[in-house]
Amino acid sequence: MSEGLAAAEVATHVGVPQSAGASPWALARRRLLRNRIAMVMVGVLALILLLCLAAPLYADHVAHTDPFSSNLDGTTVVNGKTVQVMQPTEGGLGLGVTPIGPTWDLHHYFLGADNQGRDVAARLLYGGRNSLLIGTAAALLTCVIATLVGLIAGFFGGIVDGVFSRLLDVVWAFPVYLLAISLSTVLLSSGLSLGIFKLESGTLLLPIVIIGIVYVPYVARPVRGEVLSLREREFVEAAEGLGASTWRIIRSDVLPNVITVVIVLFPLMIAIDILTESALSFLSIGVQPPDASWGTIIQDGQGLLYTRPTVALAPGIAIAITVLALNVLGDGVRDALDPRAKLRSR
């Protein structure tokens, strides 16, 4: 009922050729598939994801390395010669030890080593798994909580809306990084224990929960706004007139119309969450050693910027590409689901 109405509205406004029987989701999918830039970015993201998923294969069968163990006395082969992974300075006073730089040989320290003598390429792939996992899971958590809060606050209004809105205001009032850093610092040493809900310090769930929670207002507010608007629409009033229960109206009439907002925000939230995770890990309060994330690798590379800039540059580039791809994809999804927004922006 409501979906049909919304789809008809969209089609009429933007003059998209209507396909008989095509659902709004099918229409959106077609629009997205026609967006070449968005599709390229989907390809980029798929490639990054595949590479990251292949991390154990690369470490075990190609590079033959353990990216989680220090290898300060290890050796490798460069141009057929066995060399030390951590290379002492030759000449002068012989001060300092420099990790081997990029060999561009997939089998031997392709991107060089970090300050523990570990393979940067292998850690980059493993780090990507964690960064993507945390980013995606945190974005999912944010969207689920925000959708629930937005739906309840917007639909019921009154005191319920007041309570939820003030709660969101409280979280919103803190600078997001400051809040995330504070929570991480406190929870990192002792973990989180709320009744049966327990999170041990050092697990990946901790940054997921922290990042997921601090961004709830960023999604809940637009969702609530949309619900407030939908609440007054004719199809909702018609459903009420037909005697539909409140939860049925929310589930069948409001949620399907509001979910597009969440879907548009989802890839953007992943991008933001990856950046936040990297920042927390860079500050040693995200992913904990010996695990890696792109943020921890940048931190490892910070002390090697002068001699081995690749260590920090490689994860930096990976973050930049991933976040760019997610942002462009997010725009594409928005254009596909809400073509009016594109028209308005024109």
């Binding site: 300092g96 523990q116 904990q288 050693p289 002390g303 002068y306």
Partner: protein, 567 residues
């Protein structure tokens, strides 16, 4: 002594139980004078020595501050009754008379020290030093609650009352001045063979009797040294100028300095500091050069780099009161497993550290090479023995235990902790790294309430006696459960070994050689019990500008700033 960046109160219970008479060998001041060097010195007199530090070192009060950063500068600005000789190498460990005319031989069974005060020494405010100032200075140690008042100076008669009520401290019967005779008598509760060293550190500086009975903070107190603090803004700069009232009375204790002015600027990052020195904009930095600049300065600027071995050690504390390290085999396993060369690589390479297994550093009184935790046990460490380590872990039945490794959050310490975590995981433990801000790390890990299993530590000598390492770090009296000042972080207390330590302390009063022989034995006993994993003995790097000449490194207080010239 803890070194960088701040050395907080080390509530070390140095309860010396020595009872016999101390035979203090008189260290006659060595004359350094040579006509040509004096002439050469005159040529180099003048200019401004420009130093750098990432941040200020806190209070300028010599009786309160406990950082190497300012202890180094107090050498040029303050004097005690005695002083460590201002000389390079091992000679810097010699104690020489400073404001006192000579190093007296204690009487009354080693409990009474009578000092004759030199005449004519003036503070930088023009006032002459008198025995009254000396007595007031000792009282002030307690009034300002000096970090070492309860340890170094607790053996003075009357100290107990002063520790209880610092504000009304008189040290009655403990420190007695006689202005007419120009003498100061110090009475101890018991003979203390290390008392001469304690009189030679900055906390025993002689300051005017009217100095405020509280931490002077950023307001400099007049001193008797070759320089005085002219200006101090902890956010910006510290300025030292020549003391207009200074005249050399002992070249060994307080020689004249070369630069007219010494400044220390704060705020630059370490990377920027190194670049500034390379460019000749500054002359020296307090900070150790970052790991990725070592190669560059060691090759391109080799002539400006000074590397000196230190009487210090890097070590891991193993909490002997928490699993898995309640088990001796678990402790020994980690000792066998740690690759000392790997830790030296993290520190900066083979030329910046020497692998070690024992507590006493090489060249230290009582040191005899000993290393049981190596592939071929004997005198020196050669390689880790993982097979033996794994066997010991298996025998201990501790595999699978969770272990947290605490470290300060700077780059080198954190890298060290990650390496230790890697080794612990290889041994079958579940290890975590817990980096903590350097500002709170030292007090945090000392408190047993924080349940620290393993921590990365460094210990730098306060003065050259074996007890400063063995007794302070592993004596039963240094363990204070629930206190932030429990320097025996391992919680190690072996009654048999502790009794031997007390015996060595007593023995030092009559025979230093016999005491040192006993300390060697104790060193082996402690090493065998493995309350720690000794990693290496570090070397110190000073990177100076091209114009700095006559670089002199004292093993006691490091670079003698004013003994170098800039013109």
């Amino acid at each position: 002594m803890r070194r960088l960046p701040t050395i907080l109160v080390v509530g070390v219970s140095v309860v010396l139980v020595a009872v016999a008479v101390g035979q203090v060998s008189s260290a006659a001041p060595t004359k350094r004078a040579a006509g040509d060097s004096v002439a050469r010195g005159q040529d180099h007199r003048g200019g401004t020595m420009k130093l750098l530090a990432k941040a200020a070192g806190g209070t300028l009060d010599p009786q309160v501050n406990y950082t190497l950063q300012y202890w180094n500068l107090f050498q040029e600005t303050y004097d005690g009754l005695l002083a460590f000789k201002k000389a390079g190498g091992d000679a810097a460990f010699d104690v020489v008379p400073d404001i006192a005319t000579s190093l007296p031989k204690p009487t009354n069974g080693g409990k009474t020290w009578v000092f004759k005060i030199r005449k004519g020494i003036k503070f930088s405010n023009g006032k002459t030093v008198t025995p009254t100032d000396v007595v007031a200075s000792f009282q002030r140690i307690f009034k300002v609650k000096s970090p070492t008042s309860g340890t170094f100076y607790a053996g003075i008669v009357g100290a107990d009352a002063c520790l209880k009520k610092p504000a009304t401290c008189t040290l009655k019967g403990g420190v007695i001045g006689n202005d007419k005779k120009g003498t100061v008598t110090i009475n101890l509760v018991a003979p203390d063979p290390e008392f001469k060293y304690r009189l030679a550190v900055p906390h025993a500086s002689i300051v005017p009797a009217n100095s405020p009975p509280r931490d002077a903070g950023t307001r400099p107190i007049p001193g008797t040294g070759a320089y005085y603090f002219a200006k101090y803004d902890p956010n910006k700069q510290l300025v030292m100028k020549r003391n207009p009232y200074f005249k050399v009375w002992s070249k060994d204790a307080q020689p004249d300095g070369y630069p007219d002015q010494i400044t220390q600027d704060f705020g630059l990052t370490v990377e920027a500091q190194i670049t500034a020195i390379e460019n000749g904009q500054y002359d020296w930095t307090l900070e150790a050069p970052p790991a990725d600049r070592l190669g560059e300065i060691g090759t391109k600027y080799a002539s400006q780099v000074h590397v000196e071995p230190l009487t210090a050690f890097w070590y891991l504390t193993l909490n002997t009161r928490m699993a898995p390290f309640t088990n001796l085999k678990a402790r020994q396993a980690l000792n066998y497993a740690i690759d000392r060369n790997a830790t030296i690589k993290i520190f900066g390479g083979a030329n910046l550290g020497t692998a070690s297994c024992q507590v006493l550093p090489a060249g230290f009184p009582g040191h005899v090479d000993y290393c049981p935790y190596t592939k071929n046990p004997g005198k020196k460490w050669s390689a880790p023995d993982m097979a033996k380590a794994r066997k010991l872990v298996k025998e201990s039945g501790t595999a699978g235990t969770s272990v947290s490794v605490y470290s300060p959050d700077d780059e080198v310490n954190k890298a060290m902790a990650v390496y230790v975590q890697s080794v612990l995981n290889q041994l079958g433990y579940k290890a975590k790294v817990k980096p903590i801000s350097g500002n709170i790390f030292f007090t945090y890990v000392q408190n047993t309430k924080n349940k620290v299993q393993v921590s990365i530590q460094q210990w730098y000598q306060d003065y050259p006696t074996a007890s400063d390492f063995l007794y302070i770090l592993f004596g039963c009296e240094s363990f204070h459960p629930g206190s932030d000042s429990s320097i025996n972080i391992a919680g190690f207390c072996n009654k048999k070994i502790n009794a031997q330590m007390h015996k060595a302390l007593k023995l030092a009063v009559t025979s230093e050689d016999a005491a040192n022989a006993l300390w060697s034995k104790i060193d082996r006993m402690v090493t065998d019990q493995a309350p720690m994993v000794t990693l290496f003995n570090p070397k110190h790097i000073d990177f100076v500008s091209k114009r700095v000449g006559n670089f002199t490194f004292s093993k006691q207080f490091y670079w003698l700033v004013d003994q170098s010239w800039v013109k």
